[in-house]
Amino acid sequence: MSQEVTERARLEAIDLTRAFGEHYALIEVNAQWRAGEVCALLGPNGAGKSTLLCLLSTLMAASEGEVILEGVTLSRQSAAELRGKIGFVGHQTMVYGALTALENLRFFAQLYHCWPAGVHGDIDAEDQWLMESIRDVGLEQAAGRVTSGFSRGMSQRLTLARALLPDPAVLLLDEPFTGLDRAGIDSLCQLISDARDRGTTVIMSSHDLETTARLADRALVLKRGRVQAFEELNREVSLSELYLRSAV
């Protein structure tokens, strides 16, 4: 599904502006993201990274400008359809503490109706498919446990499994490495890398430049709500250089 749109931009932000009263969190942001790329979203605190992710995810409405996903302009009418194509991982784990890992994924699979063909309606087959997602994030031993007892790392992995469940065209990650140990970070990097290989557009905000540099193909640097740089990363342009040059 995700590999269909590879030539043109999968996701576009056009003159995106968001104001909170008198304060402008984002000012005329213009950017395009391709399928199968990881874009690092960088900037100091208050630069507008989380606001941009909220606007791209449909969680927040823009004051001005528009978001276009796979050629469809985001509006109140199109939002419900487009939400099924967007995965979001934020600061919070966004899982139900009273449900088990398997029940959490089952609930969201029902909402997204993302069962593969031939699986829907057969509880055992559905569980088997959900267990594959749980296995992918290394939580198979904890699948039947309620998530209130999960560590931050385990919850974060389950959150990513939830976000990846509908095989989203766009995966938005807001500080995904916060609170994870080295093993957790490595595991998360692998999952993000796998998603990119499947053609998912990944946009990720992080202050962990070292880890982000392992994944990012491009970087968008924000400062006081404005785009300071949006460049391909390569041997000549490293992430930390770009950040120092643009944001500091």
Partner: protein, 226 residues
């Protein structure tokens, strides 16, 4: 199955499963309702005619206060770990979220009233057995009205600093017409008021339910987005 029904059933099933596991809302609301009933009953008990006259007020005060407690907990499960964000980001029709939450609140309020009503009758030595259908219809319509007003407004409690104060301040004035009709209707039913037939009061609550229901489902999408 349409997206609405699929998501409605999923949210309802999830809420029931969590409630059966924790029992925190049921236990709190029922206990609160019972304590309230005892306080009212022992505070107002008098001769049989006085008892009959105060019962409508006690019943609807109990519905109002227990209902407020119930709607305050509507999105409590979603507040934990910001699960509401995940729900809002899913392609779930907003109307399905609202419908499932309204049903949960109606069931919760009716459950409490099912415990409270016979308890009041016993404590105040009043025979309500001849008015079961009339009282049930008035209480059910009032519970529906209360849930339709309170549930969409409880979305404001998500992320608010003092939701337990904010919510009653907004909800109580809006449900006052339902409460007045409920009290007057049950008084007419029990024969302590003769201004209108109880059916007329029930029809007024029904009209309120329809109007507020349409408004709630129309505005909920906007409320979630904002």
């Amino acid at each position: 199955m349409s997206p609405f029904w699929r998501c409605f059933m999923a949210i309802l099933e999830k809420d029931v499963k969590i409630e059966l596991r924790s029992k925190e809302t049921v236990a709190t609301v029922v206990l609160f309702g019972v304590v309230l009933t005892f306080l009212f009953a022992f505070g107002f008990i008098g001769d049989p005619q006085t008892n009959l006259a105060v019962i409508p007020g006690i019943l609807w005060a109990a519905l109002l206060l227990s209902g407020a407690l119930s709607i305050g907990r509507t999105f409590a499960r979603e507040q934990e770990n910001s699960a509401f964000t995940a729900l809002a980001l899913s392609p779930t029709p907003r109307s399905a979220i609202l419908a499932a939450k309204v049903i949960v609140n109606i069931v919760m309020i009716l459950g409490v009233m099912l415990v409270i009503t016979p308890l009041i009758a016993v404590l105040m030595h009043v025979d309500l057995s001849g008015h079961v259908v009339g009282l049930s219809s008035l209480i059910t319509l009032s519970a529906i009205g209360f849930a339709l007003v309170g549930t969409p407004l409880s979305i404001m409690a998500v992320g608010a600093r003092f939701p337990e104060v904010l919510l009653p301040m907004v909800v109580f004035p809006l449900v006052t017409p339902v409460m007045i009709c409920g009290v007057r209707g049950s008084a007419a039913l029990l024969g302590t008021s003769v201004d209108l037939n109880y059916m007329a009061w029930a029809q007024m609550i029904l009209a309120f339910d329809i109007m507020i229901g349409l408004g709630a489902f129309f505005l909920f999408d906007w409320m979630v987005s904002e």
